[in-house]
Structure formats: C-alpha cells, structure tokens
C-alpha cells in the first residue's frame, strides 16, 4: 500500500488544489481510519478557502462532510469495525462530559471540526482518500444498507444544520418561516420545513437558479434583486413578518435581511458561518422587538439518527440537491463551479467503493 494519498488542500486564497500527502495513522486507541468514498463540498469550505476564518494556510486539508468505509480501528474502539460503511459527524465529541450529557457538543473539550484549521482544533480535512477519525464510537454512524452514500453524506453536517435551524428556532405548526439564502443549506431547510408543520416557507436569494431550486422544494421564492425582501414577506404574513428566520448565508447583508423580515417576538436562527460580523441592530432594538437569537453550529450527533430514518423512509431526499458528482482529482474545478454558483451541491468521489 502506498504511504501517500490524495488530499484537497488550500492553494492561493480562493482556490484549492489536489496534492499527495502522507496517509494518516491511528494516533489514539479511540481513533479509526476511514477510507473515504464520498466527500461533499460545503458552503463553509468556501469561507475557509477565502480565508474568512483565519489560521488556515496554503497546504491545509479541507473537507468535513464525508462517507467511507472503516479501514482500521484503535484498540479502544468498541462499537465500530473495519469494513463498515459509515458517515462521520463533522465534529467529534467525547460523549460523556458535562456538555455532551447536555447535548451541547459544541463545548465538549474534544470538540474539533474536520478540515477547519487551528481555530477549530486543527483536525485534518476529509476531502482525501483516508481520514483519521477521533473518538470513532461517537463520531461515526453506520449507514443503512440500502441508503446511498450520496444521501448519507448529508447527515454529517449540512442536513443536520438545516434541520437544527428549524428545531432550535422553535418552529411551531402554522408558522411562517423565512430562509435567507437559498443555497444548499437553505434548500435543505425548505425540504425539512414540512416536518415541522409550517404554514409557509419563504426562500430569499439573489441567484435565480437557487430560487428555482428552493421553489421546486416547496418554498415561496423571494428575489432580493427585485425589491426589499421585507416588503414581500410582510405582504404575505398579514403584515406581521416571519415567525422564524434562518440566516443561511453568513454575512452582514444576510443578517440585516434576517432582522428586517422577522416578526416582533420572533426568532432568528443563525446557521450560516459567522466570524467577526457586527449585529445588524442595537441590543436595545433587539430587546424592544423581543427577537430571540439562536447561534447554531449544526449538530449531527444529536440529529443524524433521526435524519437517517427520515431519509430511509422517503420523507427526506437530500441527494436530489446534488448537481454535480465529480472525481476528487477535479476538486479545483468543482470548487470554482460551486463558488460561481454554476454548481448547486457537489460531491467528490475518490473512486474507492
């Protein structure tokens, strides 16, 4: 077996390249090595390659949404075995600390996100042939036999994030939900919305293809190029605004839009990646409007089992938003297409099965 493997790494800002790097080895008895078959490109990967999140340098490996087959396990791995087909949570957690007991995995001392740099634990990315998975018993979940890799890969981050935006946003039956940003995560939130019994779901964006995709999934499209989205949302919500708003972009303009469409007493769930942005309104303004704010790092560990079931029983069909399936070797092109909105959701295949 060769000692090196392919990996998608940061190139000059805004770009990636594929290069050979050493294959990972087991470092801790709770590790597993997974042979990656399918790795998805996520919107947050674009934040990384554009260096919005500091600390990542040229040559660092990206990727946190992946499916593969267990190649090797450490001595202390109890519930997983080589040969099993698995999907990983985008971040490991220990499963037994105080935070984990409260399902607040974000503050587990073992929290680190694959391929997201030193600010997030410096764990190598998974757009590779092989990846080291810490705390394998917690981090990995086996995939039902008949489910495709392409469906399962969504449960490791993006589908769980979309679902959690609605769940933690406290969506109730009959609610009007507005999603700012109709990219892949916004589209998946539209897909999940009927599970929460919503009355109507709006998708706000500037990109016609994305609005079309959201509409095909059941959203009322709101084209922000044609006018102030708040006019459209208030017109269609008895002048009240949306009960729950998902900010699914991760920038100041999207935050501003979110606050402009939420109703008095409503909730803004921030599922986009934010780093150093300012609030769009003052604390006092927020208080006067009684807007509840939920910053969300998607939590696959809590939701993936439910999501795998919902996919298995046909209630969710995340793979339908995949526009391109490409070889890992073509990652540079894939990123470019995704960045320029020429691709909706891209999965990279390693060629392994």
């Amino acid at each position: 077996m060769s000692e090196t493997m392919r990996a998608v790494v940061l190139d000059k800002p805004g770009r990636v390249r594929v290069e050979e790097i050493p294959r990972p080895v087991i470092q801790s008895p709770t590790d597993a090595i997974v042979r990656v078959t399918t790795a998805a490109i996520c919107g947050s990967d674009l934040h990384l390659i554009d260096r919005k999140i500091p600390g990542m340098e040229e040559g660092d490996v990206v990727g946190h949404e992946f499916v593969g087959v267990i190649e090797d396990i450490g001595d202390a791995v109890m519930t997983m075995e080589p040969g099993q087909r698995v999907v990983a949570s985008m971040f490991p957690a220990c499963g037994h600390c105080r935070s984990c007991m409260r399902h607040q995995y974000r503050t587990c001392p073992s929290f680190q996100i694959f391929g997201s740099g030193p600010g997030f634990g410096d764990l190598l990315g998974a757009q590779t042939d092989f990846v080291r998975v810490p705390l394998a018993d917690m981090t990995l979940a086996t995939i039902p036999d008949r489910m495709s890799d392409e469906d399962a890969v969504f449960t490791g981050d993006i589908l769980a994030t979309a679902y959690q935006g609605l769940a933690d946003g406290g969506v109730r039956h009959g609610d009007s939900v507005a999603i700012v940003g109709a990219g892949p995560v916004g589209q998946l939130a539209v897909m999940c919305a009927p599970l929460f019994g919503v009355d109507q779901v709006f998708a706000i964006d500037l990109v016609p293809e994305r609005l079309e995709a959201a509409k095909a999934l059941g959203a009322i499209p709101v084209d922000a190029r044609l006018g102030d989205p708040s006019d459209s949302i208030f017109d269609q919500t008895r002048n009240l605004g949306a009960d729950v708003v998902l900010e699914a972009v991760g920038n100041e303009a999207a935050l501003e839009t979110a606050w402009s469409v939420v109703r008095t007493g409503g909730t803004v769930a921030m599922i986009g990646v934010l780093y150093d942005e300012d609030w769009p309104v003052s604390a006092g303004d927020n208080w006067l409007r009684a807007v509840t704010v939920k910053p969300i790092v998607g939590d696959p560990l809590t939701h993936r089992h439910d999501l795998l079931r919902l996919i298995e029983t046909g209630k969710l069909d995340p793979a339908r938003i995949i526009s391109h399936t490409m070889s890992l070797d073509d990652a540079a092109d894939a990123y470019q297409m995704f960045k320029e909105h020429r691709a909706n959701k891209v999965v990279l295949k390693t060629g392994e099965e």
């Binding site: 208030f234 002048n239 006092g284 006067l288 409007r289």
Partner: protein, 141 residues
C-alpha cells in the same frame, strides 16, 4: 369610520402638525437631533410625506422622492389620524401588524413619545378648520 377623503387634506393637517413640530422652539431641536428622515407611506387615501427632521422640512407627494429616509412607516391614513388624536399605542400597532416599520425601532418609539405634546394641537387645527366630524367621528384604534 370618518376620516380623510383626499390626500390634500392629509398634507394640510397631518403635514401641518409635522411642520408645526419641526418649527417648535422646544421640540424642533430635539427632533433635529434624532437625525431621522422619516417617510410616511399612507394608504386609503394614499398619501406620502417625507419629514427631514435635521433640516426641519416637510415634503409631500413626490416632493421628497430624492431624499433617503432612514425610517419608513406604512399604515392606513385612518391609523395615522387616530395616532395624532392620541388614540393609538404605537408599539402595539407595530406588533399587531396595523403598521409596518423599516428602520430603528428605538428611534421610532422615541419620536412617538416626543410627538405626544402635539396631539391637542392637531385636534385644535381640525376644529379650527371646521372639521369637527374628523375628531368626533373617529374611532379609537
């Protein structure tokens, strides 16, 4: 409901109370200090006013089109009229969807509070013009 039947009257009386407010020796400087350029977009009858508090100017119809308001309020002319008669709770009108606001909620509520001393003058201006029916026939909102 008895209310305005044409936009000219809206500009005369509601516009008038804004002109009065901006020119007031006591109130004018406080309003100017708010930095607010307020656009009022009324419906039924349709009427548009833009009040430039820092400059102390009131524009009606399309006169204010070139200005860039930092607060815009949308409501029926009836609601605006009831507000000036002191019969509307501004915060609850927004929460109930009777009015729609764009811009800073704290500033809007502050302006609403500053306006309170003007309510009797608004009523007096209508009565002075012989429009008592607009006062006596108007409902509380």
């Amino acid at each position: 409901m008895t209310s305005y039947t044409n936009s000219d009257d809206v500009y005369t009386y509601i516009g008038g109370i804004f002109r009065d407010a901006t020119a007031d020796v006591d109130l004018g400087p406080k309003l100017a200090a708010s930095g607010v350029i307020l656009k009022l977009d009324y419906s039924n009858p349709d009427a548009v006013l833009v009040v430039d508090f820092p400059q102390g100017k009131v524009y009606v119809g399309d006169e204010g089109d070139a200005l860039k308001p930092n607060i815009t309020l949308y409501m029926t002319t009836d609601l605006a009229h009831s507000y000036w008669l002191g019969r509307v709770n501004a915060a609850s009108a927004l929460a109930k969807g009777q009015a729609r606001a764009k811009g800073s909620i704290p500033k809007i509520l502050k302006l609403a509070a500053l306006a309170k001393p003007l309510f009797p003058r608004y009523e007096a201006s209508l009565r002075a013009a012989g429009l008592d029916h607009l006062v006596d026939g108007a409902d509380a909102k």
